[in-house]
Amino acid sequence: MSKKQATLDHISTDVLVIGGGNAALTAAITARELGLKVLVLESSPIEVRGGNSRHTRNIRYIHDAANSFLTGPYLEEECYNDLLMVTKGNTTEKMARLVIRGSHNVGDWMTAHGCRFQPAMRGTLHLSRTNAFFRGGGKGLINAYHETCRRLGVQVMYETEALDLEVANGTCTAVHAQGPKGEYLIRLRSVVLASGGYQGNRAWLREAWGPTADNFLIRGTPYDKGVMLKAMMEKGAKTIGDPTQGHCVAIDGRAPKFDGGICTRLDCVPFGIVVNKDGRRFYNEGEEFWPKRYAIWGRLVAGQPDQIGYVFIDAKSINLFMPSVFPPLESDTVGGLAEQMGLEPNAVEETVRAFNASTKPGSFNPGELDGLATEGLDPPKTNWARPLDTPPYYGYTLRPGITFTYLSLVINEQARVVQQDDTPFNNIFAAGEITSGNVLGQGYMAGFGMTIGTVFGRLAGKEAATCLMN
């Protein structure tokens, strides 16, 4: 204990921002622009700063008219309906509308703080009206915000992880943090928690999912361990969201354990069939366009034995989807490909035979829901169902890839963290993935994580600053 105290450094700030992603930096910038001293704790090294934001690419926000990078208007009701559709109504309307309204023309604020947008290009055209794309992706955005922070005089401490908060009577007075040179006690007047979900914490994932969680790949930062989420739960914060819900997609089974990001996605599922380790199909691969379905396939694969899926396509389809980061396995026979994948060749051959027999002639069009469906097959494939008959055959393994978890701290309309008795903490605010469950009960829509981060980040920054001024 005496040794610990010897290395304990004391720091003080007005507003402490815990986290280093989009929500954290927008909060920090906003609070600093209101004239307060702001300190940001980024737990990662500088090279991989930005949490999951560095893997993002665009933000969805409402706007009344087209501009140089958005092709048309996108208004509140349409956005809200889109959200209802993906979450199947599992949202909090008050908070969802707060986010959507707060996003109105937020691109202007982002541009003024260094973000640069570009028009959507090949492969992302379906989002060109609703989502604005960052030039250079999310890391470009994070770099721009850091440059703005530097200019404004926001202090950033890297490789410094917040461990615990000192809270009494609903007020946080200090945070304990571990930095590269020792432990810090940071005295503060208000705090913004923007430290992400807990998907980087394998033990916690196992708590929620059971041992199957060991087979999940974490698509983003390994630094989101949910330390603040857990600390606040212990301090009596109210939570929202199912711990097993999150943004979870099916990705290339060979992807890195962490930080594989966008390039590990596989867009070939609608053009082939997916089987489990027993060689059996388990879901309609052609239900909808892939961008509308990729976010359910993570859970589908997670539900299969050993949490693994195998997608088979043939030579007709190899050029119909975005190139994969790892080359596919390839064989002149279905059985040969199955063997390469460690599957029972007879079982897969039988599945393909049954599938092929249920396909019927018709016109195939990857650009629309072509209705080319199987007949008498269970589960059916309702679009793009062409027989697998043209060698070489190609295959990929699929694994669940978690982007972020939805278990969240409940916040109110000032982004204040709420206690179990529904009264808010006095000076504890939250934004970003640690609050995503307030809006997303399940499902996901592209670019909305950044909407939540930016709107709640600005709100939390503003409230954390103004609560000190009154």
């Binding site: 560095r54 570009q118 794309f133 890391k139």
Partner: protein
Amino acid sequence: MSDELKCKQQAAVLKEADRVMGICNACRYCEGICALFPAMELRRTFTAGDLNYLANLCHNCRGCYYCCQYAPPHEFQLNFPQAMSALRAQTYEQTAPGFLKKLFPNNAFYVFAVSLVATILLTAVSLCASGPSVFFGAHSGSGSFYKIIPYGAMLLVFCLAGLFALVALLRGVIAFWRISDGKLQWLDLAAHKKAVRDVLTLKYLDGGGDGCNYPDNRFSMIRRQFHHAVFYGFLLCLASTSVAFIYDHAFGWPAPYGFFSLPVLLGTFGGLGLLAGTGGMLWLKTVMDARPADPASTGMDMAFSALLFLVSLSGLLLLVFRSTELMGLLLCIHLGLVLGLFLTMPCGKFVHAVFRYAALVRNAHEQRTGQV
């Protein structure tokens, strides 16, 4: 280096370029930064020819390095500018005619040595031919340069050197077209028009709008401005030499010319541009973040900038001291360095000007037609 080892090394450079391109083509976040990424997206797989072409489309702005989620320390160790620089340097070497290939490893040494030898030879021969009293004498009036180096000799040496550079560069760019699987895209006039505009504006050093990332991760137009100074400085000097050539041979007005004559004005502004531009480029090389750089290419880059810097410095000094006793020596140094520049042009960094233009033409054609 043995041929076998060289082959292995070249294959490794291509393989790394292919590896990073494969990751980039699955990610595509950088498509708004420059021409290379949209060109990449026209392809699913990359032949050696594709890679050789794409590497020369890269302007080394480094925008992609700083916004790359897979850059080191990520386990993919994706260093796109470094891989492109290494491959680009390899295409220069591969396409150089015959024995000139040997000048690419240790390029800085050869550029320095050739220029030094040319300068010493020119000085020694002139000194011997004109005699010390003329060489170290003060001269004035038109034709005074010819008292140091006779008209015929100057014409012969520089015409031969210029012809050598021209032929070697032409051979080089044809060879480049071949190793990059180029077809008839070069016949597309509209593509040339677009490529000329891209060159004159240095479009792809704007990083998509805010400049490139030199000397560090922040955006800045500084490298584009330095490069503009070099490019337009070089063009002005070329114009100055051409006008002087016409004055001399068509009108019979031999140099030196008055301070406010066309050749001297062009040369002065050109020389100052080159001095500032190459000086700036050299300074950037010394202060820049070294991580995205290809260490093996740095010598070649620096040698070319340094030689251009010295050529312009010696030219300006000659202008200032041309009526003093220093004229003979300065003239020989300046012309010796120019000779060195001509002789090393096809086997050094200058090649990038020609290859980049060829790559820009091909890119303009591909983007216009949507065909690779």
